[in-house]
C-alpha cells in the first residue's frame, strides 16, 4: 500500500484527481487491484461504489491482472478498413480468449483500442508497448513465438 500512498501524495490527496490517481495506480500495478481501490476510497473518503463506477466507465482501466505480455489490436476505422478484424479474430482463436481477457497461465492479455493515431501505417498491433505497423496475419505466429 506504500506504492498507493505515494501516488496519493503526488496528487496532494486531491479528490478531483481521482482519474489521474487511478491511472498512476494502474501504471504501478498493471491493473487496478481491489485492495488499492479500497485503500484509495478510505484515504480520500470517496465511496467505493463511485470509484468502481469510474473504473468501469473508462475503457482505459483494467480491474483484472494482465498477463506477462500484452497484445493490443487497434480497431480504429483506418485499421479496420485495412483488415484489423481478421487480425483480432486470429488472436482470439490462437490465444483462445476474447478481448479484455488473459490466458489461463497468465502469459498473454488481449485488448483492443479505438485508435492510436498511427492510422497511416495500419493495421497496428502494440505488443508490450512496441508499435508494429502494417501488421500481417502471419505476424501473429511470430509474435507468440517470442520473435516480435
Amino acid at each position: 500500500m506504500k506504492r498507493v500512498e505515494n501516488v496519493l501524495r503526488e496528487h496532494r490527496y486531491q479528490r478531483s484527481h481521482i482519474i489521474q490517481i487511478l491511472q498512476d495506480i494502474q501504471v504501478e500495478f498493471n491493473y487496478l487491484p481491489k485492495e488499492a481501490l479500497e485503500y484509495v476510497s478510505q484515504r480520500l473518503k470517496i465511496p467505493l461504489s463511485k470509484i468502481y463506477s469510474i473504473a468501469t466507465f473508462y475503457a482505459g482501466f483494467s480491474l483484472n491482472p494482465r498477463g506477462k505480455h500484452l497484445c493490443t489490436v487497434c480497431m480504429g476505422t483506418a485499421c479496420y478498413v485495412r483488415g484489423a478484424a481478421a487480425i483480432l479474430n486470429e488472436f482470439e482463436r490462437k490465444l483462445n480468449i476474447k478481448p479484455g481477457a488473459t490466458t489461463k497461465e497468465m502469459n498473454y492479455s488481449l485488448e483492443t483500442v479505438n485508435c492510436l493515431g498511427c492510422c497511416a501505417i495500419g493495421p497496428i498491433v502494440v505488443y508490450d508497448g512496441k508499435y508494429i505497423g502494417e501488421f500481417k496475419l502471419k505476424d501473429i505466429g511470430r509474435i507468440l513465438k517470442g520473435r516480435a
Binding site: T77, G117, C118, C119
Partner: protein, 603 residues
C-alpha cells in the same frame, strides 16, 4: 544554416524505426567527429506517413526528402549528401501517380497542393527546444497581444478572421470567446480539447508532438482575451509522446516567463496544467470532458447552460480544439485579413485532414478550405493502391458519413459536408475502395457508438443497440424485407431524441450508406450476397484449380486442417471445416493467386 539531418520521429515514425536511424546518425557523427559539419534534428511528424521512416536533409537551402530508410542508409546519406552534396536517387520519393522521383520536399505532389500553415513548422522545430520555436517567430504573438492589445481587441481580431472551431461543430471561435469574456465571474477557465477520439484522426497528436508551443501560445492569448487565470489541456492517454512533449514545452514556457505570474512583465497571470483522459470517446464532448476533469464519470449534460456561462466547477469556461488554438498565434501575427483571405465564404483558413485507409499517400494534409475531395484524394493522395476502384470517403468519424464517388467534386467546407449527410468532424478522412463493404462499415461505426454511448439517453443506448442487431442480421445473411426502412426510421428517432452530439449523429453512417449505397444493402438482404466479399457469412473461399501450383503453403498454414491435396497437385478447401479465417487467401503466393472469395457462399 549548417547542413542538418532532420529525422521525423512522431509516433508513426518511431513505430516504423526512426529510433534506429537516430542512433545510427548520432553514432556516426560521434565516431567521425562531425559535430561541426552538420546537426541532427529530431522532429515531429513530417506528414507523409507513408514514407516513414524518413529523413529530410537540409543542404544548401534545399530540403532533400529521403524516405523508407534503414539504419545502414544513414552512413551513406552523411557521406554522400551531407559531406559531398550528391543526391542518392534510390532514397528519393517515388510518386505512384506521376511515376517520377522528387528531390526537394516541396516538389512532391503530396505537398504541392497543401498550405501547411500549422504543420509546416513541424520539420523546422525540434520540440525539445523552445528556442527553435522562437526562432520562427514563436511567442511573438503573445508579446504583441500583451503590449499592444486590450482583451476586446484580440476578440475582435479573431472574430474578423472568421476562424471556426476545428473540433467538429465549427462554432465561430471569436464569438465563443466573446460570450465567455462577457460572463460575469472573477474565476474563468480555458480548456484545450485534445481528446481526439475520432478513430482515424491524428492531427492533434501530430501538432502536440511536433509543435506543442503553438498550441500553448494560442491558449495564453485566449486566456488573456477572456480573462482566465487557469488553463487545462485534456489529452487522451493513448498519446504518450504528445503528453511527454507537452510537459517539456510547458516547463520551458514557464522558465521563459510566458506562463506564471506577471507574464512578460504585464499584470497577466496564467497557468496551464495537463489532464489525461482515460479512454472514453464521449469525453471529447465538451460537457462530458469538463465533468471528467472534475474527476467524475464523463457523461454529457444538457446545454444550455453552455460552458461559456457555467463550465468547469460551475465557472465560465471556454473550450476549443487543439487545431483551433494552434491557429491563434498565426492570426495574431499575420492579421485577420490574411487569414480570411484563405478559404471559402463561410469557412476560412486551412484544415488538417488525416488521409488514411485505401490510399497511396497516407498522411496528414493541410489544405485551404474549399479544395475539392477529388483534389485531396487523387492529386495529394495519389489515388487508390493496387489499381482498385474508389468507393467512398468517410469524414467526421462515427458522427459522419460516407461520401460516394458522385460527390467527389464537392468543395470542402463545414456547410457542404453537412449537406452531403456527413460532417467536417475533427478531420479524419478514411478512403474506402471496392474491397470495403458499406453495410459492414455502417455496422462498425454503429457498434462503436453503441459501445461509447454513455448510457444516459435511452434513445442512444437502446436505439443504437437495436440498429446494430439489425445490421448484424443483414451481414449474417438473415436480412428481411423492410429492414432498410426500419433502420431509417430508428435512425431518425435516435437523432431527434438524444441529448449530445454522440447520439444525435450516431445514425449518420447508416443513413448515408443507405442513401448512397442502397444496392449493397439490397444485395445482402435479397441475394444473400456481399458484393465487396467482406461479410464472412456471405462468402466462401475456394481454390481455383487452373491457378493452383500445388505449393502446399495453404494446407500447411490452415489452422482448421480444411485444405487437402497432393504436393504439386491441386488443393481443395473443405467448406464444412473452413472457418473463413482468410489465412490461405493472404498466404497464397502472388505468382499463383489461386485462392478466391466467392459470394453468395457455397452451401
Amino acid at each position: 544554416m549548417k547542413p542538418a539531418l532532420i529525422i521525423s520521429a512522431g509516433t508513426c515514425g518511431l513505430a516504423r524505426g526512426a529510433e534506429a536511424l537516430i542512433k545510427a546518425a548520432k553514432d556516426y557523427q560521434r565516431k567521425r567527429r562531425l559535430h561541426r559539419e552538420f546537426e541532427i534534428k529530431i522532429t515531429g511528424c513530417h506528414g507523409l506517413c507513408e514514407a516513414e521512416p524518413n529523413i529530410l536533409v537540409h543542404f544548401n537551402g534545399k530540403f532533400i526528402f529521403y524516405q523508407k530508410l534503414k539504419p545502414e542508409n544513414v552512413k551513406d546519406i552523411i557521406e554522400k549528401t551531407i559531406l559531398k552534396g550528391t543526391i542518392i536517387k534510390e532514397f528519393l520519393w517515388f510518386d505512384s501517380e506521376t511515376r517520377k522521383r522528387y528531390v526537394d520536399i516541396d516538389e512532391i505532389p503530396f505537398y504541392q497542393k497543401q498550405k501547411r500553415i500549422l504543420l509546416g513548422h513541424n520539420v523546422l522545430i525540434e520540440p525539445k527546444y523552445i528556442k527553435d520555436y522562437m526562432k520562427f517567430g514563436g511567442y511573438s504573438a503573445v508579446g504583441k497581444v500583451l503590449k499592444k492589445y486590450r482583451p476586446l481587441d484580440v476578440i475582435n481580431i479573431i472574430k474578423k478572421s472568421g476562424l471556426r472551431g476545428r473540433g467538429g461543430a465549427g462554432f465561430p471561435t471569436g464569438k465563443k470567446w466573446e460570450l465567455c469574456q462577457k460572463a460575469k465571474s472573477s474565476e474563468k477557465y480555458v480548456v484545450c480539447n485534445a481528446d481526439e477520439g475520432d478513430p482515424g484522426a491524428y492531427m492533434d497528436r501530430s501538432l502536440l508532438e511536433g509543435n506543442s508551443h503553438s498550441v500553448i501560445e494560442g491558449i495564453i492569448i485566449g486566456a488573456y482575451a477572456i480573462g482566465a487565470q487557469e488553463g487545462i489541456i485534456y489529452v487522451r492517454n493513448e498519446y504518450p509522446l504528445a503528453i511527454r512533449n507537452l510537459g517539456i514545452a510547458l516547463k520551458q514556457a514557464h522558465n521563459k516567463g510566458f506562463l506564471g505570474k506577471n507574464i512578460l512583465k504585464s499584470k497577466f497571470n496564467f497557468e496551464i496544467t495537463v489532464v489525461r483522459g482515460a479512454g472514453a470517446f464521449v469525453c471529447g464532448e465538451e460537457t462530458a470532458l469538463l465533468t471528467s476533469i472534475e474527476g467524475r464519470v464523463g457523461r454529457p449534460k444538457p446545454r444550455p447552460p453552455y460552458p461559456t456561462e457555467s463550465g468547469l466547477w460551475g465557472k465560465p469556461t471556454n473550450i476549443n480544439n487543439v487545431e483551433t488554438w494552434a491557429n491563434i498565434p498565426q492570426i495574431i501575427s499575420k492579421g485577420a485579413e490574411w487569414f480570411s483571405g484563405i478559404g471559402t465564404k463561410r469557412s476560412k483558413g486551412t484544415k488538417i485532414f488525416s488521409l488514411v485507409g485505401k490510399i497511396n499517400n497516407t498522411g496528414l494534409v493541410e489544405v485551404p478550405m474549399g479544395i475539392t475531395l477529388r483534389e485531396i484524394i487523387d492529386e495529394i493522395g495519389g489515388g487508390i493502391p493496387g489499381g482498385k476502384e474508389f468507393k467512398a470517403v468517410q469524414t467526421g468519424g462515427p458522427s459522419g458519413g460516407c461520401i460516394p464517388k458522385s460527390l467527389l467534386d464537392l468543395p470542402i467546407d463545414y456547410e457542404s459536408l453537412t449537406k452531403a449527410g456527413s460532417m467536417m468532424g475533427s478531420g479524419g478522412m478514411i478512403v474506402m475502395d471496392e474491397d470495403t463493404c458499406m453495410v459492414d462499415i455502417a455496422r462498425y461505426f454503429l457498434d462503436f457508438s453503441l459501445h461509447e454511448s454513455c448510457g444516459k439517453c435511452p434513445s442512444c443506448r437502446l436505439g443504437t443497440k437495436q440498429m446494430v442487431e439489425i445490421l448484424d442480421r443483414i451481414t449474417e445473411g438473415e436480412g428481411k424485407e423492410g429492414d432498410i426502412e426500419f433502420l431509417e426510421n430508428i435512425g431518425k428517432n435516435v437523432k431527434l431524441a438524444s441529448l449530445c452530439g454522440l447520439g444525435q449523429t450516431a445514425a449518420n453512417p447508416v443513413l448515408t450508406t443507405i442513401k448512397y449505397f442502397r444496392d449493397e444493402y439490397l444485395a445482402h438482404i435479397k441475394e444473400k450476397r456481399c458484393p465487396a466479399l467482406v461479410c464472412k457469412s456471405l462468402i466462401s473461399y475456394v481454390i481455383d484449380s487452373e491457378l493452383c501450383g500445388g505449393c502446399t503453403i495453404c494446407a500447411k498454414n490452415c489452422p482448421s486442417d480444411a485444405i487437402t491435396g497432393e504436393p504439386k497437385g491441386i488443393y481443395t478447401i473443405d467448406q464444412k471445416k473452413c472457418t473463413k479465417c482468410g489465412i490461405c487467401f493472404t498466404i497464397c503466393p502472388s505468382k499463383f493467386k489461386a485462392v478466391k472469395k466467392v459470394s453468395p457462399p457455397i452451401k
